[in-house]
């Protein structure tokens, strides 16, 4: 039997470290919001031949449009602008067509700022709703509130680190928070709990067999029994997501990345956060 629970101080240190880094990054650098949140326009155009940045810049400058960013990759140009109306779009389009009549529109997205506010609202409601349902489900399933609360706290731990990681990734690599990030966040919540429940299940089973055993020993035995499964399972998910991050299209690279961070965190936290929390809870009860 592995005595994993003796590493609890180390786990506490790692989690605190990750937590503080996340916190620092969020306050220092904040996030890069995609137009899903902030509102604005993304315009992706494919020209018939390689295009120079200066040519495009000139078109927008002539029309006095402020562009937030312009990135050019061979024939393809990505332009980010403020929110523009349909009439404005038609005007710019005709200007661009003067330069290259065969230009093709790959993607055009405008989002009003109201929609972004609603997205934040909906995300918060979804997170509250899922945590409550999971809390109730685990609480009743294990007939023990400390299990439910620990699982949910571990879940928040993962969610917060994922959010912090995206603040860092946003600052250094330009990752943006968008509607898909929200999806990844919620999936992380469930993946985190998924793993935790498997370990809890084992503790419950062992408790039935040896009800005299100390909680710490129960936890150690349960963890050493399920840890291989936990790591192996995460490996298969990591293989799938990693190949998506490396080989998948740009559109979903950050989405897959967010899921990847979430899965790794979830595997870590079920052993290193959820179970130590349960033990802490039990100890508190004993001292009363």
């Amino acid at each position: 039997m592995l005595n994993i629970m003796k590493f609890r101080p180390l786990f506490l240190f790692v989690s605190c470290f990750l937590f503080l880094v996340s916190l620092y990054s969020i306050f220092k650098w904040g996030f890069k919001y995609s137009i899903d949140f902030a509102g604005g326009t993304i315009w992706q155009l494919q020209f018939s031949q390689d295009i120079k940045e200066t040519n495009l810049n000139k078109i927008f400058a002539d029309n006095k449009i402020e562009i937030n960013s312009l990135s050019i990759n061979g024939k393809i140009a990505d332009v980010k602008l403020k929110l523009i109306t349909q009439d404005e779009k038609l005007k710019y389009e005709s200007e661009i067509k003067k330069v290259d009549p065969d230009v093709k529109e790959l993607r055009f997205e405008t989002v009003g700022p109201i929609l972004g506010k609603e997205l934040i609202q909906k995300t918060i409601i979804a997170i509250i709703l899922s945590s409550l349902s999971l809390l109730i489900f685990i609480g009743t399933k294990f007939k023990d509130f400390s299990f439910g609360a620990s699982a949910v706290l571990a879940m928040f731990h993962d969610a917060f680190i994922l959010v912090g990681a995206f603040s860092l990734l946003g600052h250094f690599f330009g990752a943006e928070l968008d509607a898909l990030f929200v999806t990844a966040l919620l999936t992380t919540l469930s993946a985190s709990v998924h793993d935790t429940v498997v370990t809890f299940d084992r503790i419950r089973e062992l408790k039935r067999k040896n009800f005299r055993l100390e909680w710490v020993d129960l936890a150690n035995q349960a963890v050493s029994e399920v840890i291989v499964r936990s790591i192996n399972n995460s490996m298969t998910i990591i293989f799938m997501l990693l190949s998506l991050v490396v080989l998948g299209g740009l559109t979903t690279r950050w989405f897959a990345m967010a899921l990847l961070i979430g899965v790794v965190c979830g595997t870590y936290s079920s052993t290193a956060v959820a179970i130590p929390l349960v033990l802490f809870w039990k100890k508190l009860k004993l001292q009363k």
Binding site: Q44, Q46, T85, Q86, K89, L90, E93, K104, E105, L106, R107, F108, E109, T110, V111, G112, I114, L115, Q121, K122, T123, I125, A126, L129, S130, L134, F137, I138, A179, L180, T183, L186, T187, L189, S190, H194, D195, V197, D201, E205, E225, V228, R229, N232, N233, T236, I237, I238, F239, M240, L241, S243, L244, L247, G248, G249, T252, F255, A256, L259
Partner: protein, 450 residues
């Protein structure tokens, strides 16, 4: 060692048969092997008078197939409260008719509401000229009154409306003051009343003289909505259309006539247009990434669990076949996040097997014979599998938002992901537990007996 019992064998062959059917459904419509060309059989059932035909092609969402999604804010302040819902309904009908005029199949017009703000979402898959579509959707509707050419209508019953009603009477939407629903006092049937302005009244008098006992068709956006027969010359600018209306159709017609302009003004707040090439590119990359991931998972499972891993891989292939078959049959519209959801679910699908195999190893270490350990492994792992997956389903449902609650996400992207995740979990429990178990019962026994 006991021989495999008959029931298990039956289950085994049913699974093989099911997988084979799924394989056929997932074949490309046309493919060539060794120079011979094969066609995928069509899925059609004829049962007495009932015939059922299913399109087996995968449905792709806007982000993969290309197309446009438009979101409009609807201004309801111009309408009194009690009329809002009927005005919204008639707005939706109007827009639907215009979108259909544009000739886009599977276009989707939806009304939504968010904290009191009514919205209209228009999805136009595969649309090529978005700018024109936007213009068409927002324009003022054209009402016209056209007289019948009796020669044409008598000669051919199948003449098109444009041929049958060629003569414009010169009356249009600007001449119509309002349209109301009335109840005929004589037979208490609903009628639709029209009221013209003075200029319209004159034109209408002239038209009713000319077309007495003939028909005048009323066109809205070039689509005929009604063609009453003129029964008398009308000079006071007030006309009544009676026919076999019930109160609902009368109200609808009246709303359409009133909607010379759209019944409510709309304002485009968000637009997403994806070109078809971008989507094609995304699919190719996603499929490639998925295959590479799959090979890694296969290798990992065999490396770790040997023979058991191989059987788990077979279950995983069956999982993939069943899932893709369901996508085709339900059908589930695939979006890019949906593909990610599917790829993620493949990674999660082996979870049940890993749980079971680890459990088996423990039992074997505890000295149990192999086949006992196997059955125990499946039995004991089941609790964990059930509980853990319930948690994922809870979150999946919150993302999918099955009751269309307005306080939750309603975006197609997020839902596309959630639906593939939920479907994936149910099927993975089936293949990971039931299929793997029965495969092992049959295959592993042979293996051990050697």
């Amino acid at each position: 060692m006991n021989p495999v019992n008959q029931k298990t064998l039956n289950i085994f062959w049913t699974i093989i048969g099911l997988s084979f059917i799924c394989l056929i459904i997932n074949l490309p419509p046309k493919f060539t092997v060794f120079g011979k060309t094969f066609y995928r059989p069509d899925f059609s059932i004829n049962f007495g008078n009932y015939s059922f035909k299913k399109d087996l092609n995968l449905k792709y969402g806007l982000d993969l197939a290309g197309g446009a999604s438009l979101i409009y804010d609807i201004n309801t302040t111009t309408t009194s409260k009690e009329n809002i819902s009927s005005a919204l309904e008639s707005l939706k009908n109007n827009i639907e008719r215009r979108v259909n005029l544009f000739g886009i199949s599977e276009a989707n017009v939806k009304l939504t509401s968010q904290s009191g703000q009514n919205r209209l979402t228009v999805e136009l898959p595969g649309v090529e000229d978005v700018n024109q579509a936007i213009k068409l959707i927002g324009r003022t509707a054209q009402i016209s009154f056209k007289g019948e050419n009796t020669k044409v209508t008598e000669a051919t019953s199948s003449a098109s409306f444009a041929e049958a009603f060629p003569t414009d009477t010169g009356i249009n939407g600007s001449h119509l003051v309002k349209s109301t629903v009335q109840i005929n006092p004589n037979n208490s049937e609903p009628e639709v009343g029209l009221e013209f302005n003075p200029e319209g009244a004159k034109l209408f008098e002239k038209a009713t003289k000319e077309y007495l006992n003939k028909r005048i068709a009323i066109f809205l956006d070039d689509v005929p909505i009604t063609y009453p027969t003129v029964q008398s010359v009308i000079s006071d600018g007030k006309a009544v259309i009676n026919g076999k209306f019930d109160i609902k159709t009368a109200k609808e017609l009246s709303a359409q006539l009133n909607a010379g302009a759209l019944p409510l003004s709309i304002n485009l707040i968000s637009q997403t247009t994806i070109g078809a090439t971008l989507g094609k590119n995304s699919i190719d990359k996603g499929v490639f990434a998925g295959l590479v991931g799959l090979v890694l998972v296969f290798t990992f499972m065999i490396g770790n669990y040997g023979y058991l891993g191989l059987v788990a891989n077979i279950s995983l292939i069956i999982y993939g076949l069943i899932t893709l078959t369901l996508y085709r049959l339900i059908p589930i519209t695939l979006t890019f996040p949906g593909i990610v959801g599917f790829i993620l679910s493949v990674g999660m699908a082996v979870d049940s097997n890993i749980l079971i195999f680890e459990r088996m190893r423990e039992e074997i270490r505890a000295g149990k014979p192999w086949n006992v350990a196997m059955e125990l492994g499946f039995g004991r792992a089941w609790d964990s599998i059930k509980d853990a997956n319930t948690c994922t389903i809870i979150t999946g449902l919150i993302l999918f938002n099955p009751f269309n609650w307005n306080f939750l996400n309603t975006s197609g992207m997020v839902r596309g992901f959630a639906v593939t995740l939920i479907v994936g979990i149910f099927i993975s429990i089936f293949t990971g537990v039931y299929v793997t178990r029965n495969l092992l019962r049959v295959l592993a026994k042979k293996n051990i007996q050697k």
